[in-house]
């Protein structure tokens, strides 16, 4: 069969990717610039036997998504800035209870209601640290419509594989961008489904990790394995415990199941880095401008390359360290005041110099601005 070629918006590609990954439930509350994700989901889901519900607010949307996933359906919600803040308590709940789900945040300018229809990359830190306590986080950032399709599938796969909420960080530009994309055939798409228990119900320990397993096996409510789920620290039976040893082991296990598998989760692109003197680090819409800037710089004889993190969390410490060893000069470009920069500085090799270019006025960073920064500040 021919692959389907379509003109599609980023937000639409997100829904199509989710459906390809097996999404059967969406619950959320509309907010610009993520709204199309809700609208298209409401149209598409019943056609594939799935369900959409518009909840009363973002908190409820997140709660319903967790309930839906626990009852057996692959579930997603989408939001933006203020709505993402509202979801945080329940994102933490999904983390400690290990219930797979996908949260899309089409970032807009903040703080507060901020800049509703303008692009921003201001939620990088919120994606990691928005919910309280120590916890793992997987967050992915696409830079094109096709990549939005692919990464939404990946987000579901990681969610199921690592039994954790996964955040897809778009920005307004990518969400609303229209591009021609080729939708892959079903057979080309790799899908991961949660591993279910096969033991006798009486022997089921909902939070025990069996030898050779990454995470505990997950039964859906209603399948005959009755068990208890709580946001309190719990032991392998799922019941609350105040034991400090159990608390420590649980939180460490949650964090480590992601951190120890960083190579599986690490997605990034290297562009013209082989002989580069300077590397730009940029992601999302900003990486599009950065790529143009690299091409232009090369035409001017400047040896500039691009490192594009696709996995934002867990942080690509090893890759960034290698990069700073190799090029010694790095320019981190972001539509925020330097949220990813902090992490790059932390990971950088001692001898490296880190430059920054930031913007928070709701305008996209242009290739010209990046070139100017390189010529005037770095090469000068």
């Amino acid at each position: 069969m021919e692959n389907k070629v379509k003109l599609m918006q980023g937000n639409e590609a997100c829904v199509e990717g989710a459906l390809a990954a097996g999404m059967k439930f969406y619950a959320g509350y509309p907010i610009t610039p993520s709204t199309e994700i809700a609208e298209i989901s409401s149209l598409r889901l019943p056609r594939v036997g799935g369900k959409f519900i518009q909840m009363e607010d973002e908190i409820a949307g997140m709660a319903a998504v967790i309930g839906g996933s626990l009852a057996g359906l692959k579930s997603m919600t989408a939001t933006s800035g203020p709505g993402f803040s509202l979801k945080q308590e329940n994102i933490g709940y999904a983390t400690i209870t290990e219930i797979p789900c996908v949260i899309v945040n089409v970032q807009r300018g903040g703080p507060s209601t901020g800049l509703p229809t303008s692009p921003s990359q201001g939620d990088v830190m919120q994606a990691k640290w928005g919910t309280h306590g120590d916890h793992p986080m997987i967050a992915l950032t696409p830079y094109s419509v096709r990549e939005t399709f692919d990464l939404t599938i990946k987000a579901f796969n990681y969610a199921e594989k690592y039994r954790t909420p996964v955040i897809l960080l778009l920005d307004e530009v990518i969400g609303h961008l229209r591009e021609k994309i080729e939708i892959p055939n079903k057979e080309e798409i790799e899908i991961f489904d949660r591993v279910k228990p096969s033991c006798e119900p009486k022997d089921y320990k909902p939070y025990r990790v069996e030898e050779n397993d990454l995470v505990p096996k997950m039964a859906s409510f209603g399948e005959g394995y009755r068990y208890h789920v709580t946001g309190l620290v719990h032991d392998e039976t799922g019941f609350p415990s105040n034991d400090s040893k159990i608390a420590e082991e649980l939180v460490n296990r949650l964090v480590n199941k992601v951190e120890d598998n960083i190579e599986d989760i690490a997605n990034y692109e290297e562009y013209m880095l082989d002989d580069a003197d300077i590397a730009i680090v940029a992601y999302g819409a900003t990486a599009r401008s950065a790529k143009s800037a690299v091409n232009e710089a090369r035409e001017n004889g400047l040896k500039v390359g691009l490192f594009r993190p696709i996995t934002i969390w867990p942080f690509l410490t090893k890759q960034i360290k290698e990069l700073t060893k190799k090029v010694k000069k790095i320019l981190v470009v972001e539509m925020n005041l330097g949220q990813y920069l902090i992490e790059v500085e932390r990971a950088a090799d001692k001898g490296a110099t880190i430059y920054r270019y930031n913007k928070i006025n709701g305008q996209l960073i242009s290739p010209d601005e990046i070139i100017k920064k390189i010529k005037e500040d770095i090469y000068a």
């Binding site: 059967k24 019943p46 908190i59 409820a60 309930g67 626990l70 409510f221 208890h228 709580t230």
Partner: protein, 273 residues
């Protein structure tokens, strides 16, 4: 020897419960389980969801699919579960603070949708778990740790709230009327839609002590002496009703149920792929 009911429906290894001696919550929990027993529901098809609070610790003791969620959000979680698997009998057990303060918005919207969930509120008129602060059902002028001079808020009539929001079944009983709670929950579960059963509980530890209501037996006696069955209501002069707890089935109506309506959409618009 523990009773048959205990052995059949409770997680014996999780007992004794954490509630204070004399707390009304245990009685209400037992009535809910008796209702499930009378209905003959398959344990694997029952899902009990709670938020956070003393009352919300009940699911931990009950041997079903149980979910202890975040404060106030039980109904939103339950909505996702019911949508994903309408075969499950979803029962939400929640406190007055959990359901009517932080979760008030979820309550009115779950009721508005008439989704087939039965909500049992353990209403002790106070925040028990956090140590006795006033709640949306603490009567005006009564005290809580955050209302040392008497609370000036008006209190909610939760059944009226649920009915006005769209619940198709509302009822009330008290911890003194344990059998009635059971009967009302049975009817609530049978109702295809959003059912709301307010169960007046007692918290001798905080509400009782703060407001000089005596010990647990005194508070139970108060519930007994001050409850009026809704069936007897018309026969009484209006003045006699002041401060009385009206118990029994308060409202019933048949309306389209949410998950069934959604199923119709699926059947109409589903495309074979």
């Amino acid at each position: 020897m523990p009773s048959k009911l205990l052995q059949k429906y409770f997680r014996m290894d999780k007992l004794p419960h954490i509630w204070c001696p004399g707390c009304g919550h245990g009685i209400i929990m037992k009535s809910v389980v008796e209702a499930i027993d009378e209905l003959g529901l398959e344990k694997d098809k029952v899902c009990i969801v709670s938020g956070i609070g003393c009352s919300s610790r009940a699911p931990g003791y009950m041997d079903f699919n149980t979910l202890h969620t975040t404060h106030g959000r039980a109904l939103a979680f339950a909505t996702g579960i019911k949508m994903a698997n309408p075969e499950l009998h979803v029962i939400v057990v929640t406190g007055d603070g959990d359901s009517a303060a932080i979760g008030g918005n979820h309550l009115i919207h779950a009721a508005r949708r008439n989704i087939d969930i039965t909500t049992v509120v353990f209403n002790n008129n106070i925040y028990g778990m956090t140590g006795g602060q006033y709640s949306p059902t603490t009567p005006t002028r009564e005290k809580g740790t955050t209302a040392p001079y008497g609370n000036i808020d008006k209190n909610f009539d939760l059944c009226e709230l649920a009915k006005a929001s769209g619940a198709t079944y509302t009822a009330r009983a008290t911890a003194y009327h344990a059998k009635m709670i059971k009967d009302l929950v049975v009817k609530g579960v049978k109702n295809k839609g959003f059912s709301f059963v307010e169960s007046i509980s007692i918290c001798p530890t905080y509400y009782g002590r703060k407001n000089k209501k005596g010990e647990s037996p005194d508070m139970m006696k108060y519930l007994k002496d001050n409850s009026i069955n809704v069936k007897a209501l018309n026969k009484l002069p209006k003045d006699d009703l002041k401060d009385k707890i009206v118990i029994g089935e308060l409202y019933k109506n048949e309306e389209a149920e949410y998950t069934e309506e959604y199923q119709k959409i699926i059947e109409m618009f589903r495309q074979e792929v």
